[in-house]
Symmetry: C2
Subunit: 231 residues, 2 copies
């Protein structure tokens, strides 16, 4: 996990008095150390926020989960909200990436199949990220909407065009592109966001390789072929 925004830089040089100039190698090591520490904290924050929400999670909880002292946590992040938004903007990037792969020169069926796979892998490998994203959006994304709105809108707009082109070329059934995208998001994320419900109902989660494969196959089939019987 790599930090994206930071407002509180550790290792700021005190510039009064004659200062020592650290070597490049040392600076590098410091940076790596700082990054690792920040990452550990961010990871703990992610897990905790995604389970309890912004208000339900306490700094003490996060600090102890990250195995650092509260003092040390505040050494890296100036306050709770900065910690929270750091986590959010990190995962926003992660969340947006897969969609970018859609390009017009692909075969749409392949592109959609790939997209389902990538998103389902994300749900399996990053369920906490998926849930925190969901939670934030669900609450109206008060801290994310500004960052989210424009890039997301533009990206989707772009992909809608691609999908329309596919439809015009007869490579795809005429379906409203927005809803296709929403459906792909919804179905794949469901297995992360509603994990406990899936488990309560089906008795399994994506962590089970067989269940993962079954899910992937079912979603592909459902989206690509629908449920109407073939004769």
């Amino acid at each position: 996990m790599s930090a994206i925004r930071r407002s509180k830089e550790p290792a700021k040089a005190s510039n009064r008095k004659r200062q020592r100039v650290p070597t490049a190698a040392a600076l590098n090591r410091r940076m790596r150390h700082t990054e690792r520490k920040r990452s550990a904290i961010l990871e703990a924050a992610l897990a905790t926020f995604s389970q309890y929400g912004l208000h339900g999670a306490s700094i003490d909880q996060i600090a102890s989960r990250a195995d650092v002292s509260k003092t040390n946590l505040f050494y890296y992040f100036s306050n709770k909200e900065e910690l929270y938004t750091s986590v959010l903007s990190y995962l926003l990037d992660l969340w947006l990436q897969p969609l970018m792969a859609f390009t017009e020169d692909q075969d749409p069926i392949d592109a959609i199949r790939d997209y389902i796979r990538v998103k389902l892998e994300f749900s399996r490998d990053h369920p906490a990220e998926s849930r925190l994203f969901c939670m934030e959006v669900m609450q109206g994304a008060p801290l994310l909407l500004n960052q989210l709105k424009q890039p997301l809108h533009d990206l989707v707009e772009n992909k809608v065009t691609v999908i329309r082109a596919w439809i015009d070329q007869g490579k795809l059934a005429p379906i409203e592109p927005y809803h296709l995208i929403f459906s792909l998001w919804a179905t794949t994320q469901h297995y992360a966001d509603f994990r406990v419900q899936v488990e309560a109902v089906a008795g399994k989660t994506l962590d089970d390789p067989d269940f993962y494969q079954e899910t992937l196959t079912s979603l592909e089939k459902l989206v690509l072929d629908g449920v109407r019987p073939r004769n």
Copy 2:
């Protein structure tokens, strides 16, 4: 909105001293009044909890939204958790209902079409309920899982059997029933739970009748026909 559980009964008769026996009509009026008041509070609680979460919502906030004093709120609900679980168990009922309609004697295509419509109507008319349910499940459903697990499991088990029968009769493409159900839940609830995202992307919500119709048509088409081009 009708209350389901209550642990703090107002209007309890003080049984020392010679008590007056209220007439049936009076009792009835009292009950109705109590119900209305409880409902108003529950409604405010639902709206507030669904936006801010259990911890993010404050009693003061809820009371003022329901237009009652904090004292009065505690006159009807003994504490925050009871208020929260009252809201939850109310909406659990609401949430489970639509699925019961699936029966083997129906035509599966009709049944699925109907189900999509009913669930999408729910997303349009009860978005706060949908979001609160989502939020609770996402956090591991600590207060709902016990109530949820058994009935949900049984209900779904039942419907899975129905779907398998349809498949065996050749009325439905061979799809894993669990995943069909999950996909129907996911796609329809998405429009309530990710409302702000849908709005950011498509510029519209289900409140817009045209958009609602477009969504309904798209989901029906997608699930029933898939996206592969027909020749």
